[in-house]
């Protein structure tokens, strides 16, 4: 095979794989080593040098300069709302299971243990909360749920191959946001 420019580039960027089999040409090749040829170390030491150098090298700004667009923001929100709903759900059901089994075990010993965590008491204590707190709590719970559901439908539409060009992405994105506002209002005041 001829030593074309692309081969030389590949060799330069991956020296440790190819060093054993190919004698690297002395000219026209950029070496990505941390030290000069006269001070070259073994591969692991080179890697460690490179790692130390990369730690102190400046990084170009990315998140700080990129304009937030509906594409990236909704995508991030989709994951954030998903995790935000999921965490408490897992915790609550997990906690409920643990307490249920603990309560069943300790039924013989102490009848009152675990009886205070059953659903009836939670419902009555939730109903007794002040109205403002209830509205705020409902809005806080409804918004990520509605948003995640509507954006999930948007993802399923994409999986079906529809609405994939940028105009439709923006249109469906705004529709999801409008739907979230409407759905949250409905759920909070229903």
């Amino acid at each position: 095979m001829l030593a074309t420019r692309s081969i030389l580039k590949t060799v330069a960027q991956n020296p440790s794989v190819l060093r054993s089999a190919i004698a690297t040409p002395a000219f026209g090749v950029r070496h990505f080593n941390a030290t000069r040829n006269t001070q070259a170390q073994c591969a692991d030491a080179e890697s460690e040098f490179l790692r130390q150098q990369r730690k102190v090298r400046p990084v170009s700004p990315h998140l700080t300069i990129y304009e937030p667009q509906i594409t990236a923001v909704l995508s991030a929100l989709h994951r954030i709302t998903g995790v935000a709903i999921e965490g408490p759900v897992y915790l609550f059901i997990f906690y409920f299971t643990v307490v249920f089994y603990l309560g069943a075990l300790s039924y013989l010993a102490a009848p009152a243990f675990g009886a205070t965590i059953d659903t009836a008491s939670i419902i009555t204590s939730a109903a007794a909360a002040p109205v403002a707190l209830k509205v705020i709590a409902k809005a806080t719970l409804a918004t990520p749920f509605v948003f995640h559901s509507l954006n999930g439908v948007r993802h399923l539409v994409w999986d079906a191959g529809k609405c994939l060009d940028i105009k439709d992405v923006y249109t469906t994105g705004y529709a999801v946001l409008a739907g979230t506002a409407a759905g949250t209002a409905y759920l909070t005041f229903m």
């Binding site: 095979m1 081969i7 794989v17 190919i22 999921e86 409920f96 559901s149």
Partner: protein
């Protein structure tokens, strides 16, 4: 002579990379994480590939009528049971995606194993818990609708 030269593994590797026949990740570059030199290639298997994708989309699509009918018609034991299966599955697959993205097995080996183990344990617990909740208590939908007043 060109044929003998082409048989050496390094040139073969280079040629295959240039022809996009193998993923870039197989080439060893400077890396501070100790890795074995042998190529780690997954055997392609449908269970973790296309079937996983199919199951994920089926669960998502299935959740839409369940949630809509619960919002429209209220609680029912069948819907609660279905929800108690589909919801933990959906949550599990979602969390798994987050773990793969943020605690990649190649980058953070131990943390990834820890998180995956915790996830599997939690999902089992949630499945059992949903079943208990639906069987021995008033059920998920009824609980939420009572709290939502």
């Amino acid at each position: 002579m060109a044929l003998r030269l082409a048989a050496t593994p390094a040139i073969r590797n280079t040629a295959r990379i240039m022809l996009r026949q193998q993923p870039m990740g197989l080439v060893k570059i400077h890396s501070s994480v100790a890795q074995s030199n042998s190529v780690v290639a997954h055997k392609p298997d449908r269970l973790h590939g296309s079937y996983h994708w199919d199951i994920e989309r089926i669960v998502c699509v299935g959740l839409v009528p369940i949630i809509s009918s619960q919002l429209a018609f209220g609680a029912s034991p069948v819907l609660d049971t279905l929800l108690g299966v589909m919801l933990p599955l959906h949550l599990h697959i979602g969390f798994e995606a987050c773990i793969t993205d943020y605690f990649n097995p190649r980058k953070s080996v131990i943390l990834n194993k820890l998180m995956t183990g915790a996830l599997w344990a939690s999902t089992t617990g949630v499945l059992v818990g949903c079943y208990q909740f639906n069987t021995n208590d008033i059920g998920i939908t009824e609980f939420i609708s009572k709290m939502w007043v």
